[in-house]
């Protein structure tokens, strides 16, 4: 196990020491996998996309500012990769109009189960999977990666107003799905 700081590992990788990148993968594989798992909802697919994210990160390491932390950057790469994958695969099930017009089934909270964290996580994951891809992405970036609105707009290459509308619509949908409303 290499205890070098991330910045040194990035520099060594740039000089051709691929093993240094292996250490970065070891350090961030769980968090990157969880980004993918939250967005994709399927374990195997999340693992595959986590690998893809590290490969994309490796190839784009030349554009990475080594003075900044590596973890948030590679997690953003992963989120973007998942979003691309979702957009290719899944037709957006809810247009904005449908979102307002269609009645949404509200899951009634079960008091006996509500206290079990695993079950709550399962429901939340399920609710996340029912969001359109861009909504999932803003939830991921805001709530799990703690990005500002401006950073989200830059990461997702959308306007600031799109970020705002996606975020509050995503939250509203999630709240309904989770029976908060």
């Amino acid at each position: 196990m290499d205890s070098s700081p991330d910045r040194d590992l990035v520099e060594r990788t740039r000089r051709g020491e691929v093993d240094a990148y292996g250490e970065l993968v070891r350090r961030y594989q769980t968090s990157v996998f969880n980004v993918c798992y939250r967005m994709m909802g399927e374990h195997q697919e999340a693992e595959d996309l986590a690998q893809d994210a590290f490969l994309r990160g490796y190839r784009r390491l030349g554009t990475f500012d080594a003075q900044r932390p590596f973890g948030p950057w590679i997690r953003k790469v992963a989120a973007n990769l998942c979003l691309n994958s979702l957009q290719k695969r899944v037709p957006v099930r809810l247009t904005l109009d449908e979102e307002h017009d269609d009645p949404i089934d509200v899951e009634q909270p079960d008091p006996a189960v509500a206290h079990e964290r695993a079950d709550q996580s399962q429901r939340l994951r399920q609710a996340l999977q029912e969001l359109p891809p861009h909504y999932r992405a803003v939830i991921e970036l805001r709530h799990y990666q703690d990005l500002s609105y401006e950073e989200m707009a830059q990461t997702l290459r959308v306007s600031l107003s799109d970020v705002k509308s996606h975020l509050f619509r995503a939250r509203r949908l999630l709240a309904r799905r989770l029976g908060s409303r």
């Binding site: 990788t13 990148y21 993968v25 594989q29 490796y58 709550q120 939830i139 709530h143 609105y149 939250r171």
Partner: protein, 188 residues
Amino acid sequence: MHLDDSTLNEYLDGRLEGDLARQARQHLRVCQDCRSRRDQLQSLTASLAMLAESPLRRDLVRPVLARLGTKPAPAFLGWVTGFEAIGATALATYLWPRLAEAVTPIVNTVVPAAVTLWSSIAASGLQDVWAQLALEIRSLAYASDLWLRPLAIRSGPTWPLVLALGTAAFLLGVLGNGVLLRSPLRRV
């Protein structure tokens, strides 16, 4: 008049400043409906924060490095590098007197020739340079015959030994530097 969704979300995300934030705060004090919506959003944020991290079922390091066209360097490479250094030192010690014998006449010829050429350029200008250069090339061709003599393979057992040591050093160098194990993606 209630806070719209966008304003409420921005308020909760700490994006409202100054008067806008103050107005939102004041409105939330008096509006039950907006407080209820705020509480729902805060509850959602808490739920999202409680989502447990899932463990990985397998280590991703090897698959990722394999897809990069490489794999982690085996531990024995450190020993190979050590042997490489010892072998290179022994070879240099053995060869140095012979190399010196070969290099000395080259230095003795090339340096005065270069000095002569440079003096000629400085003295007569560029018009005579080509003529001088042709002369120097002819003299170097003559001198090369002298230089090659010390490098000619001699009879006796020493040159096979040099050949074997050189080949071994080369192979150790290739292995020790991990050339055979490296990814073709040298620059990223």
